[in-house]
């Protein structure tokens, strides 16, 4: 495989207090691909995702061993500025979490906090991001309205637009459609297909059909261990391990 590696997870162990929740994880995440992480609840898939933009820094008494390299540089190096890491690695959360601000301000937020306050620049950027997130036509007449007036699916696309505005290299998605109805889910999935032309996407999902539909690579986790990581087609049609097959065919989990 000669794809470019965007994120390299290098022998990562992770601990909540004394409890180890990830065991020697090692995998390469390829540029401009959709990589999905599947596995039973509590298997550590969200934990790994949140390590890639250092979100777990917020949880007290946690500790990581090993390296996570973004473009070859370890993001856990003490010299690295965590704010810069998060500008390069955006994140969309499980529950839509727009700020209690206007639609415009939500999308502009990531730019404003980075000192970009020129109004016409912001307007252009907000429009472009909302278009890329397939939300522009629904909200263009009410950018000044509260983001909380949008439906759940629209809110989630707004959260994606907000992330796109800061032009990250990698977008992490933590079960982005699990709180949405099927129509809204479909829209998000279509959007992910479109976004992978420009972005590297890592998505955690509970929904195996979703992983099969949208991702190029799939990682199967169980009990904090990476059981199998391969092309999605291989994982779902011809996995190397019986336990992977048992899981993807719905025999447990």
């Amino acid at each position: 495989m000669d794809y470019k590696v965007r994120v390299k997870v290098n022998h990562v162990n992770f601990f909540y207090g004394r409890v180890q929740s990830l065991f020697d994880i090692k995998c390469d995440i390829y540029d401009k691909m959709v990589t999905s992480i599947i596995g039973p609840s509590g298997c550590g898939k969200s934990t790994l995702l949140r390590l890639i933009n250092r979100m777990n820094d917020l949880i007290p008494h946690t500790r990581i061993e090993g390296q996570i390299l973004l473009d070859g540089k370890d993001i856990y190096n003490p010299k690295v500025d965590v704010v810069e890491v998060r500008q390069k690695v955006g994140m969309v959360f499980q529950k839509p979490n727009p700020f209690p601000k206007s639609i415009f301000d939500n999308v502009a937020y990531g730019l404003v906090v980075n000192g970009l306050t020129n109004r016409s620049y912001l307007s252009g950027k907000v429009e472009k991001s909302l278009k890329d997130a397939a939300l522009w036509n629904e909200v263009k007449d009410r950018l000044g309205k509260s983001a909380l007036t949008l439906s759940g699916g629209q809110q989630q696309r707004l959260c994606i637009a907000r992330t796109l505005a800061i032009e990250p290299e990698v977008i992490l998605m933590d079960e982005p459609a699990s709180a949405l109805d099927p129509t809204a889910t479909l829209k998000i999935e279509e959007l992910i297909q479109k976004l992978k032309e420009k972005y590297t996407i890592v998505i955690v999902t509970h929904n195996m059909q979703q992983a099969a539909r949208i991702s190029d690579y799939t990682a199967f986790f169980m009990l904090g261990k990476l059981i199998e990581y391969d092309l999605t087609a291989k994982i779902f049609r011809n996995p190397s391990k019986t336990i992977t097959e048992d899981y993807v065919t719905g025999r447990f989990g």
């Binding site: 007290p60 998060r86 959360f93 209690p100 937020y109 906090v113």
Partner: protein, 285 residues
């Protein structure tokens, strides 16, 4: 059948409790308003007292109460908010921080007269501010500090962690997150704490008795180092001192009436500000 009786009984006691509360509240308001309203006049609101407190108005006491309340809030709101932010957002949950939190909560239960003595010892004597608006405001401010901190803390804790995470994930610093997301979202809750505090500050007698208030003063305070008349202390003095108890009692009810109105107006303004804040972006909490 038994289940139904239990349910009706439970419901009955709950509604009884509400009825009793509303009954006493309305009696209190009726009592103060009916007795106080009679004596209110333009002169009563705008003139200084005359003839050994039996005539004239209580304007200096109204002004004094406004000064003391304002001073206390100016002092305690920024410090209280800063404390709450520090305790909620910056300190990891640890044994020591828990002790600090519990101590602050306990401080809210300390009798106000104890704060009065503290103010006398520290502000009036030690720092030599004398019996003055400054000493009284600081004493009142310290008295309400714990309730402002607790209210602000609760408001901050009620902000979903997902807001903070979303902001940080967009490359905001912790301080930007607090300033632009957490505080604006928590503002309605913080306002509630401030409203309650204003009511307490305006009405407290004990903390200002030794630190700021005087029974009679000719004219208005000229600086923050002047002693002042204040409504709650004025009521207390009218009922316990002086040589014309009958006339003084009427004036005391008038003062109580004004005090209630002041607290109601301040609260109403704060409630309106809070409502605007909430509806601005459809905040529910």
């Amino acid at each position: 059948m038994r289940k139904k009786i239990n349910q009706s009984l439970g419901f009955f006691f709950l509604s009884l409790a509400v009825t009793v509360t509303i009954f006493f509240l309305s009696v209190l308001l009726y009592f103060i308003f009916s007795r106080g309203f009679r004596i209110i006049s333009w002169e009563f609101l705008t003139a200084v007292p005359r003839k050994a407190m039996t005539q004239g108005g209580v304007a200096p006491a109204i002004i004094g109460t406004l000064y003391l309340t304002l001073g206390a809030i100016i002092f305690s709101l920024p410090i209280g908010l800063a404390c709450a932010i520090y305790l909620c957002e910056y300190t990891p949950k640890s044994f020591v921080v828990n002790i600090v939190r519990i101590s602050i909560n306990n401080l809210a239960g300390v009798p106000s007269v104890v704060f009065g003595l503290f103010g006398l010892a520290v502000f009036v004597k030690f720092l030599n501010f004398g019996v003055s608006i400054l000493s009284g405001s600081l004493t009142l401010g310290i008295m309400v500090l714990p309730s402002i901190i607790s209210a602000a803390q609760e408001a901050l804790l009620a902000i979903p962690q997902s807001y903070r995470e979303a902001s940080l994930a967009l490359g905001a610093t912790k301080w930007q997150t607090i300033k632009k997301i957490v505080i604006p979202s928590a503002l309605p809750g913080i306002m509630t704490g401030v409203i309650l505090s204003i009511g307490r500050v305006a009405g407290e007698t004990a903390p200002i008795m030794f630190t700021a208030a005087t029974f009679y003063k000719r004219g208005y305070p000229k600086s923050i180092f002047d002693e002042v008349m204040a409504l709650p202390y004025h009521i207390y003095a009218l009922m316990t001192e002086g040589v014309h108890p009958a006339q003084q009692k009427d004036i005391a009810y008038g003062c109580a009436f004004i005090l209630l109105i002041i607290v109601l107006v301040i609260s109403a303004v704060a409630v309106i500000i809070r409502g605007v804040q909430r509806s601005k972006y459809g905040l529910q909490s």
